[in-house]
């Protein structure tokens, strides 16, 4: 473990809060009415998946948890959890759905993902910049609709529903930004 201060905060890093491992989901600086600076964080508990807010004094020290990334293949869902396998060791790990968040709708069996590990425990997934998925269901775009920015919704192979430009057709591969869940480009 290493000590960091609030100025080292980044979204997605792992820290100890009240003796429990947490991930910083989001943080922002706040200045109360008339006073010095503070940092308000949203912290996700790695044990319960619950998110709570805590406000640190600017400059306060916290313990950052060491996390390593392992390449793993996604196998199958198990209740609210998801099972992955390390491609080298063939070890299987279960990742809580609450720690994967909205990204679960883009998980594709047999694809490889970066799993974040802390002391043998899976604590999250590193989101790729883009995910490439096949459009499995799409309606024809309304004819004559040439307004720029016009969109329709399509279903991709994992079942997720995405808003795309009218020219996207069934059977095409598209790239999606997993952070926002929005269409990026034809892939």
């Amino acid at each position: 473990m290493s000590s960091i201060t609030t100025s080292d905060f980044k979204n997605g890093i792992f820290i100890t809060f009240k003796d429990q491992p947490h991930q910083i989901v989001e943080f922002q600086r706040v200045n109360p009415g008339k006073g010095s600076a503070f940092v308000r964080t949203r912290l996700k508990s790695l044990t319960t998946g619950k998110v709570q807010e805590f406000t640190y004094k600017s400059g306060e020290s916290v313990e950052e948890l060491p996390v390593e990334t392992q390449e793993m293949q996604y196998l199958y869902p198990e209740g609210d959890d998801y099972v992955f396998m390390n491609n080298q060791t063939f070890d299987q790990v279960t990742v809580k759905g609450s720690l994967i968040g909205d990204f679960v709708k883009f998980l594709k069996p047999n694809d490889t993902y970066q799993i974040l590990m802390h002391e043998e425990e899976a604590v999250g997934i590193r989101l790729p910049k883009k995910v490439r998925l096949l459009v499995t269901e799409a309606t024809e775009g309304a004819k004559g609709n040439t307004m720029s920015g016009a969109t329709k919704t399509v279903t991709v192979e994992t079942g997720a529903i995405i808003s795309v430009p009218l020219f996207i057709k069934e059977g095409e591969l598209i790239a999606i930004d997993p952070e926002t869940g929005s269409y990026v480009e034809r892939a």
Binding site: Q28, V30, G33, K34, S36, F38, E53, K57
Partner: protein
């Protein structure tokens, strides 16, 4: 994508940005009806108000021979308005830009923002509480929303009674702290430690108070009703008057709706000596904190020496009021040119 580009592609977003012009018009109409003078105050100053918790923008004024004089961007129009009150203008207000450095990385701050300040001569902060309600009601009516306002899924009855709670009651209710006890520095350290906060010797009493306030009190303010939290600890009086019957507390309030802190009001301090002492203290703090140093506004102390009538006034972050009316959680959603975009890395 820049906001102008987004607007070009999504014309349906214009209405959210137009809330600003409706609010500005409604504010001016309210104060016209109330017979307040609207005044302009300088943005470029020789001496900003001495406030150690703020970081000022520093610049340089050049004369025709390029001789340099340090100059600063205004952090609020307060001192200028008070000088006009001493001069005898009576009730007045200003809608102006203010600048506070280091206020980045926040959904509710922009380093350049629009501030609304109004001052009622002969009034205490109790009249300003009523002004807040009447002002918000008239803005809401102008926006065609009647007596209720919906922010982030919660509907607030603006015309109904507002929640009014003292700082002492709030600490007791939500943090389980006896605030009279907490006012003592040693006790405050002990209480904060027992609650599990990291307490260093270098931490000031104010930091401990603020951290508990932010974690345990503020999340409850303005949840279902507009809330006024009043009677601040005396050491946080800033430019407000202490309570006559209990100088441990100051006649200051803040106003919250839906988690947004909308304004900060004082029964104004009129005692020049006490004001000068507070400025001196603030300047020492500014030095201790290693921030940009400047001299305080001696002209303001001179004005107080002449005598300021009893007055109460408030600073409202107009951008926050616009966020509230536009039902958005990000200040950038109400600005055509937010600083985050202008200074994008």
């Amino acid at each position: 994508m820049k906001t102008w580009q987004t607007l070009r592609n999504h014309p349906e977003l214009w209405d959210r940005y137009f809330v600003r012009e409706h609010v500005l018009r409604a504010v001016r109409s309210f104060f016209t009806t109330e017979q307040f003078h609207e005044v302009e105050t300088p943005l470029l100053l020789k001496s900003p108000a001495a406030e150690s918790y703020l970081d000022v923008f520093e610049t340089t004024l050049l004369d025709r021979d390029r001789k340099k004089t340090p100059a600063y961007l205004s952090t609020s129009p307060e001192l200028a308005l008070k000088k006009l009150i001493v001069a005898g203008i009576g009730n007045c207000y200003s809608i102006t830009k203010s600048f506070r450095n280091m206020e980045t990385d926040s959904h509710t701050h922009n380093p350049e923002f629009t501030i609304l300040e109004w001052y009622r001569v002969g009034a205490t902060y109790l009249s300003i509480m009523d002004d807040c309600k009447q002002l918000l009601l008239s803005i809401n009516h102008a926006l065609g929303h009647g007596d209720t306002l919906t922010y982030q899924g919660v509907t607030f009855d603006i015309a109904g009674p507002w929640e009014k709670i003292t700082m002492k009651e709030a600490f007791q209710t939500w943090a389980g702290i006896d605030f009279d006890e907490f006012l003592d520095d040693t006790k405050a350290r002990q209480i904060a430690k027992e609650k599990g906060y990291a307490v260093e010797d270098s931490n000031t009493w104010e930091e401990l108070y603020d951290q508990i306030f932010l974690n345990e009190v503020e999340p409850h303010l303005g949840k279902s009703k507009p809330t006024i939290i009043y009677e601040f600890p005396g050491c946080l009086a800033a430019l407000s008057k202490k309570k006559a019957n209990d100088t441990r507390y100051a006649e200051r309030f803040e106003w919250y709706i839906g988690g947004l802190e909308l304004g900060d009001c004082y029964t104004e301090l009129t005692d020049w000596k006490e004001q000068q002492d507070r400025f001196d203290f603030e300047l020492t703090e500014i030095k201790r904190l290693g921030k940009t140093t400047y001299d305080y506004d001696h002209d303001f102390i001179d004005a107080l020496k002449v005598g300021m009538p009893d007055t109460s006034g408030i600073a409202v972050g107009l951008d926050r009021l616009i966020m509230l009316c536009a039902d958005t959680t990000h200040i950038a959603d109400t600005l055509f040119f937010p600083s985050t975009e202008l200074f994008e890395k």
